[in-house]
């Protein structure tokens, strides 16, 4: 079987949907912590959006493990290939860890994990102030780390698109062109 040249359609859909959700989530997060006027709706958005990201990240991880992604260009310097793989797995880890940390943090602080006014999730951590303090710090610092990795990921993607022009960007941006059959004249 030939190696794929593009990510499969589910991977691409999840990638771009989650890109928008995660960037929005990071901005909502810092905005709600700082704001003294917009906190209520931001926090009401932050919690269900986080759980949605968690569910999509699980789906995406399953898809990724079943469908090998297209290989990186053979001429890519070794350190760049290593950085690409490391950042991808870090992104997966943070996509899964951030919602779980937030959920556990609210649980440890004794706050209801509210999805809608009537629907709440059960706690996943014991009520414990020391645990709360640790989880709250971790949630904040890992959010900054996630934002930094997202920026690096975006910059690297644009480097592939505009400088190297090596097919890495199109492998996520669009599907594989149909093989030659499309260009075969009708018989």
């Amino acid at each position: 079987m030939n190696a794929p040249t593009h990510f499969n359609p589910l991977a691409r859909t999840l990638h771009w949907t989650m890109a928008a959700m995660i960037v929005a989530m990071l901005f909502v997060g810092v905005a709600m912590v700082a704001s003294i006027s917009q906190r209520e709706w931001l926090i009401a958005l932050h919690r269900p959006l986080g759980i949605a990201i968690l569910l999509l990240a699980l789906l995406r991880l399953g898809n990724r493990l079943r469908h090998a992604p297209p290989p990186l260009p053979a001429d890519l310097p070794r350190w760049q290939a290593l950085a690409a793989h490391a950042s991808h797995w870090l992104l997966y880890a943070l996509m899964l860890a951030m919602p779980l940390l937030g959920w556990a943090m609210l649980s440890a602080g004794g706050f209801p994990v509210q999805m809608t006014p009537a629907l709440q999730l059960p706690p996943i951590a014991p009520r414990d102030p020391l645990l709360y303090a640790g989880l709250r710090s971790a949630h904040g610092w890992l959010a900054y780390a996630l934002f930094a990795i997202v920026l690096a990921h975006l910059s690297a993607a644009l480097l592939h698109a505009w400088v190297r022009r090596d097919g890495v960007f199109p492998s996520m941006a669009r599907g594989a062109r149909r093989p030659a059959t499309e260009e075969t004249p009708l018989e």
Binding site: I36, G109, W162
Partner: protein, 361 residues
């Protein structure tokens, strides 16, 4: 093509990528309040309160630092069920309460009896996990009607290092910018002081949206009205009272039996100031006695369960929601900052006084 041109052709995309990354990072920093001028953020607000305290009291609430934990229960009368579908106000529903009685100010060792502002905070946890957190005060209306007013008040009331008292010029400027404060100052000067937490009425001050089973929404303020008759305490008695007078009084009263307050809901009529906590509503508004709070035990906050509760008044059960009152929204943001700071200090073992065990006062 010259080498220069080829280099230029490669440089443009790099510059564009750098510009995109920098723009995103800048937008993030602006959203977080790190750049773009001194916007009033929850962090700056909390910093101002800390500065007003004169010194740091690690592990303690930044405001209303001195208080005691109380426990008991709330029992719904059923009359509140006409205003909200919240299960805690259903007839006969009994909900455990973890509360806190406190005095205003940032000093956890301030003398109790000389504190003008006194507070009751409650956490009601329903059987379905729903929570109703309240943070009530003995004043009938708030001093200011915007977060900026609250911030300006905190800044202006900081003691002048030279005199140890707030600068009168700054206080006059504050009054000019936020004239509604005059009404509060009048209350502080003239209203009689209760001699106990137990005979004090505590008010939600901010309005909330109550939604009934049919989906009707009404603006409501509430009060905890003491069953004990009000008893005033004269200035000379207050000045002579022990530093922990209120806590001692509370313990003595609880030794004789539980203390009770009625939860009184007041319903707004069209035209009432539902988003302005500095304005009282006319006294003839419809009132509903929705249930009874019964407190039967107290513990020092250092070893008590209330220490690690953020009494964020916007954590509410289904059927009760915050109003658009900007002061209410600001309280939630600042309480969260205060909570995160003190819990971090406690976790890092930087708060020996707040964590002392075995202090049974």
């Amino acid at each position: 093509m010259s080498a220069f041109h080829s280099r230029l052709r490669r440089a443009w995309p790099l510059a564009a990528i750098a510009a995109i990354a920098a723009a995103l990072a800048g937008a993030f920093a602006w959203t977080a309040g790190w750049v773009g001028g001194p916007r009033l953020t929850a962090q700056r607000f909390t910093d101002a309160i800390e500065a007003g305290n004169g010194k740091a009291y690690p592990g303690f609430r930044r405001a209303h630092a001195k208080g005691v934990c109380v426990t008991g229960r709330f029992t719904g009368s059923g009359d509140g069920a006409a205003l909200t579908r919240a299960g805690m106000l259903a007839p006969g529903a009994t909900t455990p309460v973890l509360g806190r009685l406190s005095i205003a100010g940032g000093d956890p060792h301030a003398p109790d009896a000389t504190a003008r502002v006194r507070s009751m905070a409650l956490l009601l946890t329903g059987t379905d996990g729903q929570q109703w957190r309240m943070a009530m005060n003995n004043f009938p209306f708030f001093a200011v009607n915007t977060p900026q007013g609250f911030y300006d008040q905190a800044m202006a009331s900081r003691p002048d290092p030279a005199t140890g008292k707030p600068d009168p010029a700054k206080m006059a400027e504050l009054l000019r910018k936020h004239p509604e404060i005059a009404k509060f100052q009048q209350w502080a000067k003239t209203a009689p002081w209760p001699d106990s937490w137990a005979n004090t009425q505590f008010n939600s001050v901010n309005a909330f949206r109550f939604t009934d089973a049919a989906g009707n929404v009404r603006s409501v303020r509430w009060s905890m009205r003491p069953r004990l008759a009000f008893a005033a305490m004269e200035k000379s008695l207050r000045e002579d009272a022990e530093a922990d007078y209120l806590a001692d009084d509370l313990r003595a009263r609880l030794a004789d039996g539980p203390l009770r307050w009625d939860l009184v809901l007041t319903v707004a009529e069209p035209g009432d100031a539902v988003d302005d906590p500095s304005q009282a509503w006319p006294s003839n508004r419809r009132q509903v006695v929705a249930g009874t709070l019964e407190l039967d035990a107290t513990q020092a906050q250092a070893g008590g369960a209330c220490r690690d509760v953020n009494y964020d008044p916007t954590v509410l059960p289904d059927g009760i929601a915050p109003s658009d009152d900007p002061v209410l929204a600001a309280r939630a943001g600042v309480y969260s900052q205060s909570y995160n700071r003190r819990e971090r200090e406690i976790a890092r073992d930087q708060a020996p006084e707040a964590t002392v065990q075995g202090d049974t006062r």
